[in-house]
């Protein structure tokens, strides 16, 4: 139904525009075509309106979740008056009604200015009714909705003028191609030329706006090949290729022949062109069908991609494999050579085809050399985003599951040295090794769920719930981070942010729970894990410094390592400690962060993007010289280009 509505609206716009393009003529055949087209417009308005009403009824039934709602006046009123889609529907169908009324009034169009005004108004109303639909599409849900809606409007209007105009043009060409329609030939030739120019502009606008929309709504290769939305988009592109090929053929071959000698060249060319254009129109209507389906498919950026291939390409495979890197480098140079040859083929006219063929061969060879070393195994869940974020609570839950199921073979610290692993054909993976960076969280999820049969790793899909498996993945990520964090010291290394701080939730007394993430983009956090009485001098020092720390944009969060609920009372009245002291949620924070900094008293400096930048173990960050801590925070404040905030998933 959506497809019918979209196709009818597009045809309406295209017909109105093509009348305008062809221009006014007094020849009987041309007048006959124009009358037919106007009649078609009237019919299309009525049909588009009816289809629109049907879409509204279906949408209402969908929103209300019951079939009967489609005919319930109350439900319809709610949808129309209280949803954005309803408002847009009202505007669009108001415009369609206006257009119907305008077309129904017989107007005297013998004078040129009257003809232009009448036909122009028809096209204008049709375009407005079609374009307004963008305000209720996926674009309206994006941040910066106005620009996105404008892009969508350009896309749909360009499609309307081009796709909708194909069929009327084919009809005009067919009429003018007959012996008795010879009087309309000049008009038809003119119309075809003008349309060809308009179509070129429209296709360019479509490609440009389409790329922008795809970037916003799909945004990744996984989204393109792994989601329904992305696959619909691929289908659209696949259908577009033959349309563009046909269009190019028409433009190069048939269009110049139209003006040729009537009987032998011009007329047959016109009839052929009519058939080809009609073919284009049929394919284009199929594209509209896909576009209408995309309208109610969740955009790829919001869906979980299901990776369809057994491999993916990643530059990270080259990290410590010089032979592979060399091969990839050679291949990439061959690819550049091929690209240059292809460009040359476009510029040089004489040897175009051999040159293009050669370029394709070189490109193929380059790909064959460069791509295999980049390929690593991939699984359907490779690009799935973790259902459980990288949080202290999840890490702690994952640690329990890990001890229960994984430590037997992978060892208690993830080194792959568990007793169960000794009798396996392939030793269990060292989970702390840097190569884990090559695998996405989705890869780990697949292995834990399905096992790795040839290596003897069992499947846990049946024993562990999906959330528990994500907990284990978060724990493994923390293991790997802990291994890497061994060398992090108490001073900030400028512009080197790589250790993601696990998020956590905490509360002080009766205050509502806060998370580490709340500070993101706002404050540097000095996370202090303390143990009384050893930490008392340092806490007194921090309490003393607290005013300066806040002035520099830092917050201190103190976590008692014994997780005592009466931690505040134990700290006592002097000195006055006014920074947050965690009384709820401390146990998880301590368990997770002890992995990064194992000491009775530990301090972690977390920057505004959520990365751990310095770790002090024992005495605390720069305990001897209190101003050194302020200097470290100044260093973070002075960083020009902050690293992008870490994403929720592992890479």
């Amino acid at each position: 139904m959506r497809w019918a509505h979209l196709a009818l609206s597009v045809l309406l716009v295209g017909t109105a525009v093509s009348i305008l393009l062809a221009g006014r003529s007094d020849r009987p055949t041309a007048l006959g075509w124009e009358t037919r087209m106007l009649d078609a417009c009237r019919g299309l308005v009525v049909l588009a309106f009816a289809a629109g009403v049907a879409v509204l009824l279906l949408q209402t039934a969908l929103l209300e979740g019951r079939r009967a709602a489609a005919l319930d006046p109350g439900a319809l009123r709610r949808v129309l008056l209280e949803t954005r889609g309803g408002h847009v529907w009202l505007v669009r169908h108001g415009l369609l009604l206006l257009l119907a009324a305008f077309l129904a009034v017989p107007l005297d169009v013998r004078r040129r200015v009257d003809w232009r005004a009448a036909r122009g108004e028809t096209a204008l109303l049709g375009l407005a009714a079609l374009g307004a639909g963008a305000a209720a599409g996926h674009a309206a849900a994006l941040p910066g909705a106005l620009a996105a809606i404008a892009t969508d409007t350009v896309h749909v209007l360009a499609a309307g003028a081009w796709v909708g105009g194909l069929l009327p043009l084919a009809l005009l060409l067919r009429r003018a191609g007959r012996a008795e329609g010879a009087d309309a030939r000049p008009l038809a030739v003119l119309a075809a030329r003008r349309f060809s120019r308009l179509a070129l502009a429209c296709v360019l606008a479509l490609v440009a706006s389409g790329s922008v929309i795809a970037w916003a709504q799909v945004g990744s290769v996984a989204g393109l090949v792994g989601t329904a939305y992305g696959r619909l988009l691929l289908g659209k592109l696949a259908l577009l290729a033959p349309i563009l090929a046909l269009a190019a053929l028409n433009r190069r071959r048939h269009l110049p022949a139209l003006g040729g000698e009537a009987l032998r060249v011009g007329r047959p060319a016109m009839r052929r062109l009519a058939r080809f254009v009609a073919g284009e129109a049929a394919l284009a209507l199929a594209v509209l069908g896909l576009a209408a389906t995309m309208g109610f498919t969740p955009p790829a950026a919001h869906a979980e991609p299901d990776w369809p291939f057994a491999f993916r390409l990643s530059l990270e495979t080259l990290a410590d494999a010089p032979a592979r890197a060399a091969r990839a480098l050679v291949g990439s140079q061959v690819l550049v050579l091929g690209a240059v040859a292809a460009l040359a083929a476009l510029v040089v006219r004489r040897a175009r085809w051999p040159l293009l063929g050669g370029a394709l061969v070189v490109l193929g060879a380059g790909a064959a050399i460069a791509l295999p070393p980049l390929a690593i195994d991939a699984y359907p869940t490779t690009y799935v985003r973790p259902a459980v974020p990288y949080q202290a609570a999840s890490i702690v839950a994952g640690a329990a599951r890990y001890r229960e199921h994984c430590a037997v073979c992978h060892g208690p610290t993830g080194a792959g040295d568990g007793p169960g692993g000794l009798r396996l054909a392939r030793p269990p993976a060292d989970l702390r090794a840097p190569h884990t960076g090559q695998h996405t969280a989705g890869d780990l999820f697949w292995w834990i769920t399905r096992g790795i049969p040839r290596a003897g790793m069992p499947a846990f899909g049946a024993t562990l719930a999906a959330e528990e498996r994500w907990d284990v993945i978060n724990y493994v990520r923390a293991l790997s981070a802990a291994h890497a964090a061994r060398n992090m010291g108490p001073t900030v290394e400028p512009d080197r942010a790589w250790l993601v701080a696990p998020d956590f939730a905490y509360a002080v007394g009766p205050t509502p729970a806060r998370t580490l993430k709340d500070y993101r983009g706002r404050r540097v956090v000095l996370l202090t894990l303390y143990a009384l009485p050893g930490s008392r001098p340092r806490l007194a020092q921090l309490a003393d410094l607290y005013g300066s720390l806040t002035a520099l944009g830092a917050e201190v969060v103190a976590v008692p390592t014994d997780a005592a609920p009466d931690a505040l009372r134990r700290l006592g009245a002097a000195p006055r400690i006014l920074f947050p002291v965690v009384t709820e949620g401390a146990a998880d924070i301590v368990a997770a962060y002890r992995m990064l900094a194992a000491a009775p008293h530990a301090e972690l400096l977390i920057d505004r993007q959520g990365y751990v930048r310095a770790i002090g173990r024992g005495a605390g960050l720069a305990a001897a010289e209190p101003n050194a801590l302020l200097a470290e925070i100044q260093e973070l404040n002075a960083e020009k280009v902050p690293a992008p905030a870490p994403e929720e998933h592992v890479h």
Binding site: L98, F102, V105, L107, D108, V109, R111, V113, D114, W115, R116, A117, A118, G120, E121, L124, V508, G509, P510, T511, P512, D566, A567, L568, R569, R570, L571, G572, A573, R576, I577, L578, P580, T583
Partner: protein, 122 residues
């Protein structure tokens, strides 16, 4: 009627419609914002108010008769935070110690509010 006149009239009507809608929505938004501001203003100033708030005592400064408390949201006044409140009488702080979970009564015309009563909750 000439066709171009009809088209021009129609466009004029459309323009007027869009313009009217723009002005109408603009006026409505402005009115709503003003009401919101008025409501906030009324809540914030002028009237004596009274709250029961839960919190934790973080520090006691008897010299200036102030208790620093990490407290929950105070509806219509301030979000949860750590801050100092004056006590209405010098003896009030003697009932509590640092680290105690408390429930206290906050009374006054914002921003001049004082603690009139405080008690331990556990």
């Amino acid at each position: 009627m000439r066709a171009w006149k009809a088209a021009a009239l129609l466009n004029l009507a459309l323009l007027l419609g869009v313009g009217w809608g723009y002005v109408f929505w603009g006026a409505r938004t402005a009115r709503l914002e003003q009401e919101l501001r008025a409501a906030r203003g009324a809540a914030a100033a002028g009237v004596e108010r009274l709250w029961q708030v839960a919190g934790v005592v973080r520090a006691i400064v008897p010299e200036i008769n102030v208790l620093v408390i990490t407290h929950e949201d105070i509806p219509g006044y301030m979000p949860a935070m750590t801050m100092g409140f004056r006590a209405s009488a010098p003896k009030i702080h003697e009932a509590v110690a640092v680290g105690d979970a408390v429930r206290f009564t906050l009374q006054g015309v914002p921003p001049n509010v004082v603690i009139t009563a405080i008690e331990k909750t556990r």
